[in-house]
Symmetry: C3
């Protein structure tokens, strides 16, 4: 995977990304949608798309945000909406892999996620499984996402997908 000298720093990056992903998931799972944009750079790209699109190299997707303004707009729209039934979300993020880290400080990484959703008085369901395809850069207080592309396997996605993943 990498030579001996680089291994330890890649491992440190992996552990740091795990902590980032846990904080990111905790914010979403707690319903703190207004905190979501702070995990991204000002020029970040955020996208949710199906695996069949991603495999085909298509840029289409269910959600596309470019720049922190669009991320904030989306967060605000969700925070203000009353169209959704109350639900609990829980992310399990696993299998973090650091694919590379450039001299300029950009790190590419992936992770697997499962998103469980519980509506009032209903059983918990597996809302979707997928992979994060990420590009991280280092901000003043830690890692930030310059790009997060969420590629879900699940071909049937219910309306809750309007929430970020």
């Amino acid at each position: 995977m990498s030579n001996g000298g680089a291994t330890s720093s890649l491992r440190e990056l992996r552990l740091e990304i795990e902590e980032f992903n846990s904080a990111y998931a905790a914010a979403l799972d707690a319903g703190k949608i207004e905190e979501w944009p702070r995990f991204f750079t000002d020029d970040a790209v955020y996208r949710i798309t199906g695996r069949e699109n991603a495999d085909a190299g298509l840029a289409v997707g269910l959600v596309y945000c470019e720049g922190i303004g669009m991320l904030r707009d989306r967060a605000l729209a969700i925070a203000k909406t009353t169209m959704f039934a109350p639900r609990y979300l829980l992310h399990q993020v696993s299998n973090v892999r650091v694919l590379g880290s450039s001299a300029s400080g950009e790190t590419t990484a992936t992770a697997n996620y499962a998103l469980f959703e519980t509506l009032i008085d209903e059983k918990t369901i597996l809302q979707q499984v997928g992979r994060y395809h990420d590009r991280f850069v280092r901000g003043a207080s830690g890692l930030l996402l310059k790009e997060r592309i969420c590629v879900y396997d699940s071909l049937i996605i219910d309306t809750a997908l309007v929430f970020p993943v």
Copy 2:
């Protein structure tokens, strides 16, 4: 999240808690219920409650144990009962977060769990998903739980919940 000096020790704590959680889950998944109390301090509190109760600040819950005596009684009761159909359990514990560590050596942390259950000749089901809200202290041979509150999202819990999570 934390200053540079504290980061490495919080990371070490996180890794240690991951190892603790894996050993804890392995004991339960192997059906070694009699080992379960040894993960707790003598004065530990163990509770299982629904997210709607937890969010409302209610102390009610499906299971409440205070002190190692109650934990041992519960373990013994489960070990001796023949009321339950045989089943296999498997925990996936992820997203461990260290929220803080006090000078007195107490560490607060959370983790996400999914509990899968398989009854004989049936499909594996998602029994519940939830979060551990933990307070750890350091015992003679490693971390111990002073408090574990298991907050499940799932609103419909079958009778198997009598088992610790």
Copy 3:
């Protein structure tokens, strides 16, 4: 679990195994079945079996490969077959535990896995949950599996199990 001196090296091994498992899962999830044998030693044993068989000490199982030749044959057979409906797979591997490491460099470890499967135009299902029971040795470029026994809880396994787990 271990004395202070051994703890840090066991932790390093745990982290290294996590990285191994993530790379292993990524190859399978990407459909790169031809890469699968390279995670094993020449004399490796690979087996998939149900928990009831494993608990009973039975060597029977759904899949049995001994030696890299059998692993390669299996990979080739799967790569060439057209009998299976297209599907997406996603592994979540968690709860890695290092159980021991011998002076000769062999490490025994376990991990929990959940395998999610998505067929075209269908909902994602939980295909199986189980545990890896592993023996690792160190090859020229990192860890290799000398033995991986996949013990699934799920008693009803669909035909997709012909894929390695």
